[in-house]
């Protein structure tokens, strides 16, 4: 009987502790993280194109033999993608000048995506349906789905759109205008291979 009593008391203590009812101490990890980490860096990215994009992010958590009911969620995610050339890396560009002929051949790095900004206020949850036998999508799950959407945008933006071509076209027009203002008559802009 004594052993049984001890077992019941021990189980109750474990249960109550795990339910966080007995003690609720401050999380040390959280306190340590409050020391903000920050860093400033210089760069030289010349952005030449800005695209406003929209992507529907949807997930269907279907019913299975071991799950009763389904869950569906749909986000409409709007963002801004900027592309251009990065002039910050050493030897990223080269200018060959012929002063007599007033000609210049400018070789620039290949255009790349410089920034993807999926601002939280531009991501709307437009639909959510959860069966009564299932839990709602929590913040962690919703964030995970949005992350997958962001990864898909990063992966597909240069394949599905002409953003990099447009960036090179605009960069060429920017440098052509600038160099002609500086007095060059013959201007050639080239790009390195990506």
């Amino acid at each position: 009987m004594n052993t049984l009593l001890k077992a019941v008391v021990a189980l109750s203590i474990i249960g109550l502790t795990s339910c966080d009812l007995i003690s609720r101490k401050d999380d040390p990890t959280l306190t340590e993280s409050f020391n903000n980490k920050m860093q400033s860096m210089s760069s030289a990215e010349l952005g030449s194109v800005e695209c406003k994009i929209c992507k529907v992010i949807k997930a269907d958590d279907k019913a299975e033999w071991y799950k009763f009911g389904d869950r569906k969620i749909l986000f409409e995610c709007r963002g801004i993608v900027k592309a251009g050339v990065d002039l910050g890396e050493s030897n990223s560009y080269k200018a060959d000048i012929n002063e007599d002929a007033k000609s210049i051949i400018l070789t620039l790095p290949a255009a790349k995506i410089l920034a993807i900004n999926l601002s939280p206020e531009n991501t709307k949850m437009v639909y959510e349906k959860v069966s009564k036998t299932r839990f709602d999508f929590d913040a962690v799950e919703r964030t995970e789905l949005l992350r997958q959407g962001e990864t898909a945008i990063r992966k597909d933006i240069s394949k599905e759109t002409d953003i990099l071509k447009e960036a090179e076209k605009n960069t060429t027009s920017f440098f052509t205008a600038m160099l002609s203002q500086l007095g060059f008559k013959q201007i050639t802009i080239k790009y390195k291979e990506a």
Partner: protein, 202 residues
């Protein structure tokens, strides 16, 4: 006494079996252990380009920061009210530099191998806090998407404020002038004089 002890033993066994059965039911129905959440994947959808704009932005400074933002709300229960907390750890990237599209031919003054021009004042282009840049560290109770968005907005504002306090515009100015001087020197100018418009000239 023996019969009571036997009965208690049986009740204990039944309670354990019921507990295990209950856990299995809760797992399969509510996914309390989170096994099914890991498998949740989005469907493939296209990227729609709504607008394309030509820009000439020289981003000459970045500011990165990790902040912790909190919010709490009280939810009414049947017996007790519960205080629910939300803690998000967000990493942000602030991009700043010069909008070179504001430069016109009239801004350049060229005399021999000397070029002088005035840049517009540096500005903040973007404050980026993407889904891959934040983690929901604590979520007590239910927090809607709009509530999370509001908290992330607070993180964005704090990161922008800190970037300004840490003089991101000063760094953008210094770094921008240095990079443009280097660029114009590569075009054959030996003296490059760059001024930056004061805020009052805006």
């Amino acid at each position: 006494m023996k019969t009571i002890l036997k009965l208690v033993k049986w009740l204990f066994v039944v309670a354990i079996i019921a507990g295990v059965a209950g856990a299995i039911y809760l797992h399969f129905t509510y996914d309390i252990f989170g096994f099914n959440k890991k498998g949740l994947v989005i469907d493939k959808t296209p990227i729609i380009v709504e607008e394309t704009k030509k820009i000439s932005e020289l981003t000459s400074a970045h500011f990165y920061e990790e902040v912790i933002v909190k919010d709490e709300k009280t939810e009414k229960g049947l017996i007790f009210n519960s205080k629910n907390e939300l803690v998000i750890i967000a990493k942000g990237n602030v991009r700043a530099g010069f909008n070179l599209s504001k430069l016109t031919e009239a801004d350049y003054n060229i005399k021999g191998d000397t070029i002088s021009f005035k840049l517009p004042e540096p500005e903040i282009f973007d404050v980026i806090v993407n889904p891959s840049n934040y983690d929901v560290f604590v979520e007590e109770g239910k927090w809607s998407h709009d509530e999370i968005t509001k908290v992330l907005g607070k993180a964005q504002a704090q990161i922008k404020d800190d970037a300004l306090k840490n003089d991101i515009l000063g760094l953008a100015k210094k770094s921008g002038i240095s990079k443009l001087t280097e660029l114009y020197k590569s075009f054959g100018f030996s003296v490059v004089n760059i001024e930056v418009a004061a805020e009052t000239e805006k």
